[in-house]
Symmetry: C2
Subunit: 139 residues, 2 copies
């Protein structure tokens, strides 16, 4: 399958910015949101240390966006980017009801694809490593 919606696998450690937000609902309540989100994604993509992002929003307007960065310094620089700062201000006054933001250091990661197959339930579960064997970016 296409993995365009997944951030590339990167060797830990790196950083995640977990942004959980509740949007005001109705397009009339959120003018310019889609365009701004697209613009911010393109702008982030050009920033030093940007590793990718994953995002989903449900029909009730609750969304999670996790962006990945090489270092805290890269996150700080993106935070201080003037157009990003202006868009955040606009978001608080126009788009959001509530948000939570967490900065976290990714220590372990792994993935699975249907092409990997499904482990024998009674077998060695090769597709499901134990936590002790978490691969750090296995490909």
């Amino acid at each position: 399958m296409s993995q365009a919606s997944f951030a590339p696998r990167v060797q830990p450690p790196y950083y995640a910015v977990i942004f959980t937000s509740q949007r005001r609902m109705g397009e009339a309540d959120s003018p310019g949101y889609a365009e701004a989100a697209e613009r911010m994604a393109a702008l982030a993509d050009g920033q030093p240390g940007y590793l990718g992002a994953e995002s989903a929003r449900d029909a009730q307007g609750l969304g999670l966006t996790v962006s990945y960065w090489r270092s805290l310094e890269d996150i700080r620089a993106w935070r201080q980017h003037a157009e990003h700062a202006a868009t955040r201000d606009h978001g608080r006054s126009h788009w959001y009801r509530h948000y939570e933001l967490r900065i976290a250091k990714v220590e372990r990661s792994y993935g699975w694809d249907e092409a990997d197959g499904v482990a024998d339930p009674g077998g060695c579960a090769a597709a499901e490593p134990t936590i002790a064997a978490f691969s750090a970016g296995r490909d």
Copy 2:
């Protein structure tokens, strides 16, 4: 507003499990998914060290679920929970096309609510602390 969809604020450090997944689409392709997701959420809620979770899935079947835990040991114990393990096996064979899982240590966090108001764009941006001043669970 109700914050039922947000995990409670907790003083860092703590851990986040970031689970990004692409579901097979169509209810016929995902029998039992909704019930199992509800059951896993209830089961996690009773686990030692569980701090909460946030989740969203879009209309294309891409979803992010971030669960929060006190320690890596708590994550390991949940991972080894027999019913959880069986549900993961079932998920790979029935519900998912692809997933990525990352374990990350939350180092900083803050939030904003519309009740906090919007900072004066030219002012001191009290609602938007600088990265150096990230509060560690400000309430």
